[in-house]
Symmetry: C2
């Protein structure tokens, strides 16, 4: 059996997240359907970030799957792109060692969260940015990001996992947490060894509170320390979040 790695790009607007669900369109279901048609056998994929929410996008989600097919990776990529809907594409396909596992071996993930910060909403940016009409101070957002960067227990930034798993280790390391501004567009870049359920959206919501002057650095330190989700800012909306890349 071969083990194949795919890098995916998708616009998540029309999907109920990545993971297969009964009777709802998901990225996984669309991809497995295209794979099964192309390879003539049913196929199960494993994703680097399988728990992504409804509406989240990806420029570089990674999956792997097993097949006995002898189809060349390039033919596989082109065949899948012909079969997949317009809002999903395979950017890369390659053979990887049998031991490669898209989720367990992910060393680092990078997400981007985009905010449109202007007194006027932007129709041309509406689909993939969070619209914040009140002014945000980028310097304050950067100070909050700096405080959260590094290794912390991020329990306060983690939604209850719907799978019901308990006592998950909630310590994570954010190796990069940057805020970039180009005109009215604010882009938050966050890179880490792993992210808890809804953690990126909670971090984005926290930076918005900090930027609006409603959360001081001292208060933020308290939120981190208390390890209680109810103390952190509200979760920022999913449609502005993109999984940029996964490194192995």
């Amino acid at each position: 059996m071969r083990n194949i790695k795919l890098v995916l790009e998708y616009d998540g607007a029309a999907y109920f997240g990545f993971q297969r669900q009964p009777s709802q369109p998901t990225i996984q279901a669309a991809l497995e359907k295209a794979l099964s048609r192309l390879l003539n056998h049913s196929t199960r994929i494993t994703a680097a970030s399988g728990r992504t929410d409804t509406g989240v996008h990806a420029a570089g989600q990674v999956v792997n799957f097993k097949t006995a097919s002898s189809m060349e990776p390039d033919a596989l990529r082109r065949g899948l792109n012909a079969l997949l809907p317009r809002d999903i594409a395979v950017r890369e396909a390659e053979d990887v060692p049998a031991a490669f596992h898209a989720r367990f071996q992910a060393r680092r993930k990078t997400y981007e969260y985009s905010i449109w910060n202007d007194p006027v909403r932007s129709p041309l940016h509406a689909a993939r940015t969070y619209y914040v009409p009140f002014p945000l101070k980028v310097s304050k957002m950067r100070a909050a990001a700096k405080k959260l960067q590094g290794c912390h227990d991020f329990r306060s930034f983690c939604a209850a996992d719907p799978s019901g798993k308990r006592r998950e280790n909630t310590v994570r390391t954010l190796s990069r947490f940057e805020v970039r501004k180009q005109g009215s567009l604010i882009r938050i870049l966050v890179e880490g060894d792993g992210f808890l359920y809804k953690m990126v959206r909670n971090l984005a919501g926290t930076l918005v509170e900090a930027g609006a002057g409603r959360l001081t650095l001292g208060e933020l330190g308290g939120v981190l320390k208390v390890r209680d989700r109810r103390r952190a800012a509200k979760t920022a909306p999913a449609h502005a979040l993109t999984l940029l890349r996964v490194d192995y």
Copy 2:
């Protein structure tokens, strides 16, 4: 009566162009409906570029209209943005002299045409770029743009006007015609004193032919000279075209 100028941004995907049409959604109809609700009188607007096609977007379309209302421009802008659908917004509103006419006084218009040029289509860019899978040489596109820049009779680049007007003056001056490349994204910027019906899309189609090596500079000179639409390249699709700004 006051004369008010508005600068509009919109995502044209859901509209049958700008101009009011019986029983089809258009930008003009949506804006006039919102204006009439806000001002309590029926309102007719005049647009800088009223003939834009189905699916064309704008970052800076300009319109004007007359009203006896005493509402402040800023309140007008905010009121309209509350009433308008999510894919249309008013960026600016201001009082202008009675003689101001959005169409007749437009001195210069700037359009952007976006191309995704990559062996793999991009779901995250699909909505507003023209997907060209075969390689384009930007140097050849730039040479063609340079040849077309300046003052010419652009009859070969003008679709038959559906209004049936004849013997329109088809001489126009392109003051800027640039091709920019960032990774797989190619953006064509064209600025001129006016554009004929479908002219920007025909110019974009021509640069694609030139970039693909299917149209030499000599042939392009011949297309200009012959002043016959049937000789030029095919019209590039509308969904990748954005009216960036109008200067007065």
